[in-house]
């Protein structure tokens, strides 16, 4: 039976999938690493990586970087700018682990949490490079 990611998550099934873009690079390499997602069953926290539906209906996997007035602020680790005002109802899944190559990494592991902390703390140092690469990609188009 063929079902969509949204349908599978709704029924409580875990979804294993590759990712398309580079927005979560270097943690997730497109078409190579696998993410394991499950339905949201508890409160989401800052730094959780979640799957949400954009206004255009596209599914996006980004990290929660803020929560204000009932809305989430999300950003891909490799993106310069955040999506604001994401409604909790549009968040359909949460990352519980991922395969980087053959190796499975559980997001509750201390080493992963350290990686996230370093990634977040160095964001402003990386920002000019991320922005420069974004502009370069635009020029190439």
């Amino acid at each position: 039976m063929n079902r969509t990611i949204t349908e599978m998550l709704k029924t409580g099934e875990k979804v294993v999938q590759t990712v398309n873009g580079t927005s979560m690079w270097p943690m997730l390499r497109p078409n190579k690493d696998l993410v394991v997602l499950k339905r949201i069953t508890e409160d989401m926290k800052i730094n959780d990586v979640v799957l949400f539906k954009t206004a255009s209906g596209k599914l996006v996997l980004h990290r929660i970087i803020g929560f204000k007035n009932g809305f989430y602020k999300m950003r891909g680790d490799n993106l310069a700018f955040a999506e604001k005002n994401v409604e909790p109802k549009d968040v359909i899944g949460i990352l519980i682990g991922f395969y980087r190559g053959e190796k499975y990494i559980d997001v509750t592991k201390k080493s992963y949490k350290t990686y996230v902390l370093i990634s977040r703390l160095t964001f402003f140092a990386r920002f000019p490079f991320i922005l420069a690469l974004k502009l370069l990609r635009k020029l190439k188009k």
């Binding site: 875990k14 979804v15 294993v16 078409n31």
Partner: protein, 85 residues
């Protein structure tokens, strides 16, 4: 016949799944049971129903006739989804 795309097989939370990797038109996951996994793994190389049924029969202690039915059923569902060439 063989699988059209590159897949990796992983055991996740007690279930076996095959997920396509690389730039494929198919971007999904397929849940596999033990025999499904065996057939799927063997479909990564060029083969045919008879060869697959022979291998399945000797590895899972089922008759060749039963193996042919299982293989045909599984391969047909893969073909319907455009995953086998």
């Amino acid at each position: 016949m063989k699988l059209k795309h590159n897949f990796v097989i992983r055991d996740v939370a007690g279930e076996t799944v095959a997920v396509s990797v690389g730039n494929n038109a198919f971007r999904g996951m397929i849940k596999l049971n033990k025999t499904g996994r065996f057939v799927f793994e063997n479909l990564q190389m060029d083969t045919n129903v008879d060869e697959l049924a022979e291998k399945l029969s000797s590895n899972f202690q089922i008759t060749k006739e039963e193996a042919v039915i299982k293989v045909e059923e599984f391969v047909n569902s893969l073909k319907q989804n455009g995953l086998v060439e």
